[in-house]
Amino acid sequence: MQHSKIALVMGLSCAFFGSGRSALGARPKSIEFGAGGTSYEMLRLTSSPSGKRNTLGTSFYHFHLQYHLPVGRRLISPWLHYMPDSLSSVQSTSKSSQTSLMAAGLPMTTNLSGRFDFGTGPVLLQYSIKGTGNGAEALNNGEGTATFYQPEKTVSATTFAWQVGSAWNWSSLRTGADVLIHAPLSSTKRSFSLMLTAAWVKS
């Protein structure tokens, strides 16, 4: 039952593909390297004491690497987003933990018109939290203080998402905007992230 749902989603996506390849779109066997950012879990998280949800989510930055492999008239374009821990942008005030997001995608890319490409496919995300274990701290509990403990190990969550997006091809530069749909099959967990990338292309 689960696999048939995945097949249904993938099949419906493939049915809407455009003309395939064009001389102005992504070039077969080209490799691109650049950088970008992900606005993680838009419209879901709050950064306000009132609890009001933000439009944009938490920002994660990454290096971007992608290859375009020709398959018939279309392209399979595996990509990898990575940021070393030392450069990770998300860290706790008490320096007790650091969060990073790594992702790898396998979209099918097709040219819609001219320089404009469309891509969709599954994405594997690894969300890691690294505790630095600074021991116990006393925090307010409303009637005094209580002792709580800072995290001390590294934990990773591995989830699948679905990517839907577009890219614009310049002569040797490619810029992309993608929406990641987290937990697309769950009405409770489903959420969205926005990914923007800019990369230099080498044929």
Partner: protein, 266 residues
């Protein structure tokens, strides 16, 4: 034209990806090596005595505040009503799953009824470092300032979600926007911050390569962790309409692109 678009893209990116907020989740327990409940699902059982009529609905909403997190590897549900008394629950003689009690005499359980709408207590940790017990106490004392029956529903859901966080193993956070911040007086809606997501993921990391359902799991019907009637999931109801609307949208994009090319040639 190209430099203008490049500058726009860079400016838009900078505006969108501002510096991430700082935060600091903590854990309860004897040390930072706490592991959380050793289970893929966890049922909360409510003893309905003294509770408001809509306590089940509020509990469902509070559980969903955590269930909505895509990186969460445990499913929280509301089980059947419990007949365990608050005395047995606090003595640690009831079943291992968490129980929820609405208490009419808060002083009898050592709590101040004027300031405490809810508290999580009684958590126990096994020899292996896993949580295996917990009691959620809600203030139902008549005449008390913090009686949940007199508080706004959003605030009560917020309090319940906060105490559920303690039952699951989270301590307080230093992030003032976090659900696990100690003070809920400014909260208008129960929602999670990045810090709450990190804390609960730290304890219950989802692993879709190693046991958890892929892509968030099967939920085409929008069910609730309760006896509430299931509703169709709008996302999947609208999906069959895509073959009609997507080609129109793509045609509009294509014609706009062609028009732009004709204008630049002219």
């Amino acid at each position: 034209m190209k430099p203008v678009i490049s500058v726009f893209f860079i400016t838009a990116s900078s505006a969108m990806f501002s510096a991430a907020p700082a935060f600091g989740f903590t854990l309860i327990g004897a040390s930072g090596g706490l592991k959380g409940w050793d289970s893929k699902t966890l049922e909360f059982h409510i003893n309905p005595e003294n509770c408001p009529d809509d306590v089940n609905d509020m509990m469902d909403k509070a559980l969903d505040v955590w269930n909505q997190i895509p990186t969460l590897g445990i499913q929280l549900t509301r089980g059947s009503d419990s007949s365990t008394t608050i005395g047995d629950a606090l003595a640690g003689t009831s079943d291992a799953t968490p129980t929820v009690h609405c208490v009419a005499d808060m002083a009898a359980v050592g709590l101040n009824p004027e300031v405490i709408p809810g508290v999580a207590t009684g958590q126990q940790v096994s020899a292996g470092g896993h949580l295996n017990y917990g009691v959620l106490v809600l203030n139902a004392q008549v005449g008390a300032s913090a009686n949940i029956k007199t508080l706004n529903e959003n605030l009560v859901v917020d309090v319940m979600a906060h105490e559920i966080g303690h039952i699951l193993g989270l301590g307080h956070s230093t992030d003032t926007s976090a659900l696990m911040y100690y003070d809920a007086s400014k909260r208008k809606t129960a929602s999670v911050s990045q810090d709450d997501v990190d804390g609960i993921t730290y304890l219950y990391a989802r692993d879709e390569l190693g046991g958890n359902d892929l892509f968030g799991g099967c939920a085409m019907i929008r069910g609730r962790p309760s006896s509430r009637a299931a509703q169709p999931d709008a996302f999947f109801l609208l999906l069959p309409l895509l073959p009609f609307f997507l080609p129109v949208f793509l045609s509009i994009l294509a014609s706009l692109s062609q028009k732009r090319r004709r204008m630049s040639k002219a």
